[in-house]
């Protein structure tokens, strides 16, 4: 492929992968079982003056070349269903991509298919990559859309980082010394660790002190999401949960940790304080971490028969499965009767009668305060110079939306 014997698209892709391999001191390429471009299929669309325009066209040029040469993705490939761009859907199908639904685009809740233990893969979503590495024992780096597209095309990726045994072992021991009461607490724990290790994220943290029987899949997904905000922890281990960490000794491959720290009540409070609300009137309230079925029922219970305050915009995101349950069992009606917007895709809220994405539009739309359950929002929307505050429970978030007053 590198020599061009199979066409220019494979050669171009392999040239990029080889450069990455040389830079990361990889000794060879490894075949991958799956690649996912779900997270870059038009969040901002690559249209008009969108800042992702150039990347969008860079990948489109690769697609054009592949179509011209009739080359296909050499491994199973998933991409978000761009129902507004049927032409692109058809193009991707011709290239051999499978299509998936858009909700949960940057979370592991809805991704399909899942790679398996020990397989090399190229996941697209940042937190999905962390989930696959840490919870399933898949071998993957967080590379972004260029690396994923080239890996999907060639079916190979350079063997560096978390594809190698030596880099998957634990390096830092993290003692969890506090009881975590809900998924937001789990996000705060991940955020604290991620921040602490942000300049050396490759030093794999191993979490101890967590009772395996008490953690849920929602908690784990929340933890994986925040491990990438504000740092970039692509792989971590939990003693007794992660397949590569049945014991501390196995997690560290029998070696001693190079660093140790603990997370208790004080450390958790530091993060909550960092994003504590300063005012009392919210403009937008959002439950941004996609609602799973469990949380969908919880939100419905909290809002049934009530109304969201007239001056507050309240939006939730649903996983594909939760959306189906909401439709089928009448929960959608409860949420919409209360005045909640069920966004079509991650990140949407209603503002002044139109649907916007606060990460992009908050500043120009004059939004001042946003209340969220997501530390990713705290990181992302603060870039818009607005106040984004984290509340510690779903109950407080919903009370805030109903009363029009921030509940602390």
């Amino acid at each position: 492929m590198f020599a061009g014997a199979y066409g220019e698209s494979y050669r171009g892709a392999m040239e990029i992968l080889v450069k990455m391999g040389e830079y990361s001191s990889a000794e060879r390429m490894v075949p991958i079982s799956w690649a996912d471009l779900t997270t870059f299929s038009g969040r901002w669309g690559g249209h008009g003056d969108s800042p992702d325009n150039d990347l969008y066209h860079f990948l489109r040029d690769f697609e054009d070349l592949s179509l011209k040469e009739n080359t296909k993705f050499k491994c199973p490939m998933t991409i978000v269903d761009m129902s507004k761009d049927q032409q692109r859907n058809e193009r991707m199908k011709k290239l051999g991509a499978k299509l998936v639904a858009p909700a949960g685009a940057s979370s592991p809740h809805d991704l399909f298919p899942w790679p398996l233990f020990g397989q090399h893969a190229s996941p697209g979503a940042t937190n999905g990559t962390t989930f696959f590495n840490s919870m399933l024992g898949v071998r993957a780096n967080s590379e972004g859309p260029i690396g994923v597209h080239m890996a999907a095309l060639t079916g190979r990726t350079p063997e560096y980082g978390y594809h190698l045994d030596k880099n998957r072992r634990g390096k830092v021991l993290v003692e969890v010394k506090t009881k975590l009461k809900n998924y937001i607490d789990w996000a705060v724990l991940g955020f604290y660790i991620s921040r602490k290790l942000s300049t050396h994220y490759w030093d794999v943290p191993v979490l101890t002190g967590i009772e395996p029987q008490t953690i849920t899949s929602d908690d784990v997904m929340s933890l994986c999401a925040s491990m990438n905000h504000p740092g970039s922890i692509t792989h971590f281990l939990i003693e007794g949960i992660s397949p590569e960490a049945p014991t501390i000794a196995e997690a560290f491959h029998g070696k001693r940790p190079k660093e140790k720290f603990s997370v208790g009540v004080e450390e958790m409070k530091k993060i909550y304080d960092l994003y504590a609300p300063s005012g009392n009137k919210p403009d937008i309230v959002t439950v941004r971490f996609p609602l799973t079925v469990e949380r969908l029922y919880e939100v419905a219970r909290l809002v049934e028969g009530k109304k969201i305050h007239k001056d507050v915009s309240f939006a939730v995101n649903l996983t594909v499965y939760a959306r189906m349950v909401a439709e089928r069992f009448g929960l959608r009606k409860i949420l919409e009767s209360a005045g909640i917007l069920l966004g079509d895709r991650q990140g949407q809220v209603m503002w002044n009668g139109k649907i916007i994405d606060p990460w992009v539009d908050a500043r120009r739309e004059g939004i001042k305060t946003m209340i969220t359950d997501s530390l990713k929002d705290c990181n992302g929307a603060r870039n818009q110079d607005i106040e984004v505050a984290l509340l510690p429970s779903l109950e407080k978030i919903i009370k805030t939306a109903i009363n029009g007053r921030i509940e602390v």
């Binding site: 990455m20 830079y23 800042p51 690396g147 970039s232």
Partner: protein, 149 residues
């Protein structure tokens, strides 16, 4: 007069040669979470994240040799570096302790000179305002301290 300082990488870098004024931080950088200038009109590479990037708050990364330990969270940084670079607002070169793969792939396709795994920590040796020449092909950087300029 003191001689220039040379740091050597374990391997070849990405891209060619670039030189310019250094902008140094001890914090990991995220284009998606820190460079809010991409949403401004006109677009810029201005840092707007007070919480995670207090030392670079208000600074513009365009045309600078940026020295930072590594990248952090969010694969969309690729899109934003590319969007800025195509408008002439990208960094002149990147020097890291260890380059995050998201940034490495962006540098490869944009041909931004990028180098990491140097024999000393560049974030400790280089100060903002120093003159830095990055020769990615040879895998070295040459630093002229600002007091010697």
């Amino acid at each position: 007069m003191e001689e220039n300082i040379i740091l050597k990488s374990k391997h070849k870098g990405i891209g060619g040669i670039a030189e310019g004024e250094a902008l140094v931080t001890q914090n990991a950088l995220s284009y998606i979470f820190d460079v809010g200038g991409v949403w401004h009109d006109p677009i810029s590479a201005e840092i707007t994240n007070k919480i995670e990037m207090p030392d670079w708050y208000g600074k513009d990364l365009a045309d600078k040799i940026i020295i930072f330990p590594t990248g952090r969270g969010g694969i969309f940084s690729t899109a934003l570096i590319m969007g800025l670079a195509k408008k002439g607002l990208g960094p002149k070169a990147m020097v890291n302790v260890k380059t995050h793969p998201v940034y490495a792939y962006a540098s490869i396709v944009l041909n931004i000179p990028t180098i990491d795994e140097l024999d000393k920590n560049p974030c400790e040796i280089i100060e903002t305002g120093d003159w830095v020449k990055v020769d990615a092909e040879k895998g070295i950087i040459e630093i002229t301290k600002k007091k010697n300029q």
